[in-house]
């Protein structure tokens, strides 16, 4: 007897080698779920091949907003099993899970079957072939929809929307294939059903983290982007390219990352808030340019979407291991800003806020996202408008005694822009005096170092430096950052429902350190768990270097590509409490 539970969420995996169209099935399922009033998150796991490699669309649907993956998948449907063993570890199953397989495509890989999941055979290929122009990816779309209790109506709408321009024949054959899958599912007992809400909110957004970062940048005032493609950051640039001209901006495709960072600096020197986006290897190449932005006090924003490292690493998989280079990668004493988005949706806020910080402090600011957030698509409520805009301290009518790098109390000096009469100066990576002229004097070096440090360390970051949630007085604090925040958040919520209280501190501002705010956030802690997706514990070391952590500190960390799941946080905390 199988328990059909109305879960708060359902997790689905649609599997098939590249070209089978499972990503299309996943996207359509996500949109159909939105039409049915649900929220959802879709991530993708793909191999390195451009076409034909193993692929899976991984979805989690729920009646509440979804920010992370669940511990296990409820339903896995495969069009074929080519290369599936290579990502099996990323699709954990349990004995409650259901695997739907086409016997024509061979046996379920042993590593998946070993989970004890119930296996049901459906002739997916034959069902597709029974429909004129039918495709297997549409059959599994109907199949999965029926299994989780979605009606066909939203699917039919999405098919018309996505395939309408291919003609009626394409729409009809897809609908027929979906129908065939839908009918086939009636014979299968499903382990899960979704709670389809009556309250179908209009106006929800479907957005990826990379789009969200681009949108946040645009909303913050970015008007120049220099671009060099790199996985998994390219979509930030591809989204910005057609959207920038709508607000008077432009994007230049550069010849390499050395060019893209320095083009952005040149454009910003000209007065346009500027940005580039990259991933680990590109960030390594940009380091010298970022130092130039710090020294010349030219605002610039770098969105870095992390992937597995070092070197070329694992370009298509997520990891939180560019923290060290982002914080410490510059030569010399080079205070700058490093922030991290804490969810797909937060890529909007954090990027917009970071544009504001870079412009206000006239320095380089790195936003850290990662492959998981960047390439995940999510359904969100329309985000609140936020007021952070690029606002640079500009001197538009310089007096005769104007100096570019005046030593001010805040450390921020009014900047003239080209075209302003009597404001001419030379920006320089050489150490300089307040006038901007090269200097090797101890006094000038000291004063300019002090000023550049002061403007960053004494800036008012408000409450945005961290997301602090949960029980204010709990002696258990979980410290984390970036995409891992969401597994911790959900883990703590599950514990709370069992009466175990904890506090989440997800740090958005990774550099500079704010010891006063940190002390307040962890005061009274007896147990601190530090959670991150890194083999060496980069975040733990950053915390150790900058902060005093009270009580016992433990690290829960793992390298990519395996995502940290909420259940692991629950288990870790429970085990610790038992000791």
């Amino acid at each position: 007897m199988i328990n059909v539970s109305h879960n708060t969420s359902v997790s689905l995996a649609m599997v098939g080698s590249g070209g089978a169209g499972v990503m299309t099935s996943g996207s359509m399922m996500l949109e159909a779920a939105t039409k049915a009033g649900l929220y959802g998150l879709m991530t993708r796991t793909v191999g390195p091949q451009i076409r034909g490699g193993e692929a899976a669309a991984l979805l989690r649907l729920a009646s509440k907003p979804v920010h992370c993956v669940d511990d296990t998948f409820d339903i896995l449907v495969a069009v074929d099993w080519k290369g599936a063993e290579r990502f099996a570890a990323e699709v954990p199953l349990s004995s409650n899970s259901l695997i739907v397989t086409d016997p024509e495509t061979g046996d379920v890989p042993a590593i998946l079957a070993a989970s004890g999941a119930r296996i049901v055979e459906v002739p997916i290929g034959a069902l597709a072939a029974s429909v004129d122009g039918g495709r297997a990816n549409m059959v599994i779309l109907g199949l999965v929809a029926a299994l989780i209790g979605l009606t066909k109506e939203p699917l039919n709408k999405i098919i018309a929307k996505k395939l309408g321009d291919k003609g009626d024949a394409a729409v009809n054959s897809s609908r027929a294939a979906v129908h065939a899958g839908y009918e086939a599912a009636h014979k299968i007992k499903s382990p899960v059903k979704v709670d389809v809400t009556e309250n179908q909110e209009k106006g929800r957004w479907l957005i990826s983290g990379n789009q969200a970062a681009g949108f946040g940048a645009l909303r913050g005032g970015i008007r120049f982007v220099a671009a060099y493609p790199i996985t998994p950051a390219t979509e930030v640039l591809e989204w910005m390219s057609p959207n920038l001209p709508k607000v008077g901006g432009t994007l230049v495709q550069a010849e390499d990352e050395l060019a893209s960072i320095n083009m952005a600096i040149g454009a910003s020197f000209g007065g346009k808030p500027s940005l580039t986006a990259t991933s680990g290897p590109g960030l390594s190449l940009m380091m010298e340019g970022i130092g130039l932005a710090v020294s010349s006090e030219t605002p610039v924003v770098i969105v870095n979407v992390m992937r597995g490292g070092p070197s070329t690493g694992i370009p298509t998989k997520s990891e939180q291991t560019d923290l060290n280079i982002a914080v410490y990668g510059l030569h010399g004493d080079a205070p700058h800003i490093v922030t991290a988005a804490t969810s797909v949706e937060d890529c909007i806020f954090t990027t917009q806020w970071t544009v504001h910080l870079a412009e206000a402090m006239q320095t380089a600011a790195i936003v850290l996202s990662d492959q998981f957030m960047g390439q995940a698509s999510t359904i969100i409520d329309p985000p609140a408008n936020i007021s952070f805009m690029a606002q640079r301290l500009v001197e538009s009518a310089p007096a005769a005694d104007y100096v570019r790098y005046a030593v001010t109390k805040s450390g921020i000096s009014p900047m003239t822009l080209p075209g302003t009469p009597k404001g001419q100066y030379t920006a320089d990576g050489l150490e300089h005096n307040p006038k901007g002229l090269p200097s090797t004097l101890m006094e000038d070096h000291r004063d300019q170092l002090d000023k550049r440090e002061r403007k960053v360390s004494e800036f008012n970051y408000g409450d945005h430096w961290a997301d602090i949630e949960g029980d204010e007085n709990s002696d258990l604090v979980v410290l984390t950052w970036g995409s891992t925040t969401n597994a911790v958040r959900e883990g703590l919520q599950r514990l709370e429902s069992e009466g175990i209280k904890g506090k989440l501190v997800a740090i958005r501002l990774l550099s500079p350190a704010l010891p006063k705010q940190f002390d307040k956030a962890v005061i009274g802690a007896k147990r601190i768990l530090v959670v991150e997706q890194s083999h060496s514990g980069q975040f733990l070391k950053l915390l150790r270097a900058n902060y005093d952590m009270p009580g016992e500190v433990r690290s829960f960390r793992r390298a990519g590509p395996l995502i940290i799941r909420p259940g692991e946080i629950v288990d870790t905390i429970k085990n610790w409490r038992l000791q």
Binding site: E31, R204, G248, E255, L258, A259, K272, L292, T426
Partner: protein
């Protein structure tokens, strides 16, 4: 600018009062003079001029001008200049630097700046040596030139900047000699005025590490063939180039780099509609 009420700007109005780090007798003094004279010839307002460089002796030049200068990092002057020009098409942008900065560490940017054909001028003061690091062979150095870093010479064929510029699509290509201030002034003004990416190789001797270059003033000569707008003819001329022909080699008609900048209207509401399901 109102020509009646404004006084005519002189070359000295484009010079800062910072004393150059260059050695006495360095060819770059003459290049600085020629740049300021060219700007005066064109009567460009100093605040509307951007002078951008990388690193090296000649790359110190922005601070010696009265303009919005950017002394950036080694090899990247062209990229900073490109960003500035694309963001601010209203400005006159001049990138300047040396042979090591432009053809070695910045070589890739040189190719792509020629290809991109952004409306700006690139001046390379070529002395066939790394001067700031005290005398190492550069890409344009003769293969047999002896140095501590490459004893007996590099044995490598020199980089030919004009050939590369032509092959990569620069829209204006010229060579001058720093000692010919008048000729250099005219060619810089010509290059600034010509649309697209203009490249000028200025033979600018290093009296300290390449005293053998003193002879350059006798070796340079005005090219006997007049300029062309035909890349094939220009290429044939370069095949018999002795490296000391001066004057404009090529003046093309390629459209400068275009970029799509809409109006600054900030209609975010319209943009975010694309996310609504």
């Amino acid at each position: 600018m109102n020509e009646i009420t404004k006084e005519k700007l002189k070359a000295s109005d484009y010079k800062s009062n910072l004393k150059p780090v260059w050695c006495p007798g360095c060819g770059d003094y003459h290049v600085l003079l020629a740049i300021t004279q060219a700007l005066a010839k064109l009567q460009l307002a100093p605040e509307n001029v951007g002078v951008v460089s990388g690193i090296g002796c000649s790359s110190r030049i922005p601070a010696y001008t009265n303009s919005y200068g950017f002394h950036s990092i080694h090899g990247r002057g062209l990229t900073v200049a490109t960003g500035l020009k694309v963001a601010r098409p209203d400005l006159t942008v001049i990138a300047a630097g040396g042979d090591g900065d432009g053809f070695s560490i910045g070589g890739n940017h040189f190719l792509h700046a020629c290809r991109r054909n952004t409306n700006m001028t690139y001046i390379v003061m070529d002395n066939e040596v790394y001067g700031m690091t005290k005398g190492q062979p550069s890409p344009t150095t003769d293969p047999s030139w002896d140095s501590a870093l490459s004893p007996g010479g590099t044995g490598l064929s020199p980089f030919h900047p004009l050939v590369i510029a032509l092959a990569s699509g620069a829209n204006f290509i010229a060579r001058t000699f720093s000692g010919d201030v008048k000729g250099t002034t005219n060619i810089i003004a010509d290059a600034i005025t010509h649309p697209g990416f203009s490249f000028i190789q200025i033979l600018s001797p290093c009296v300290t590490f390449r005293p053998d270059q003193k002879i350059w003033k006798e070796k340079v000569h005005t090219a006997i063939v007049s300029e062309t707008d035909d890349p094939a003819r220009a290429a044939r001329r370069l095949m018999s180039d002795d490296g000391f022909n001066t004057g404009v080699l090529y003046r093309g008609h390629r459209e400068p780099y275009r970029f799509s900048c809409g109006e600054e209207k900030g209609d975010i509401a319209e943009i975010q509609r694309q996310f609504v399901v």
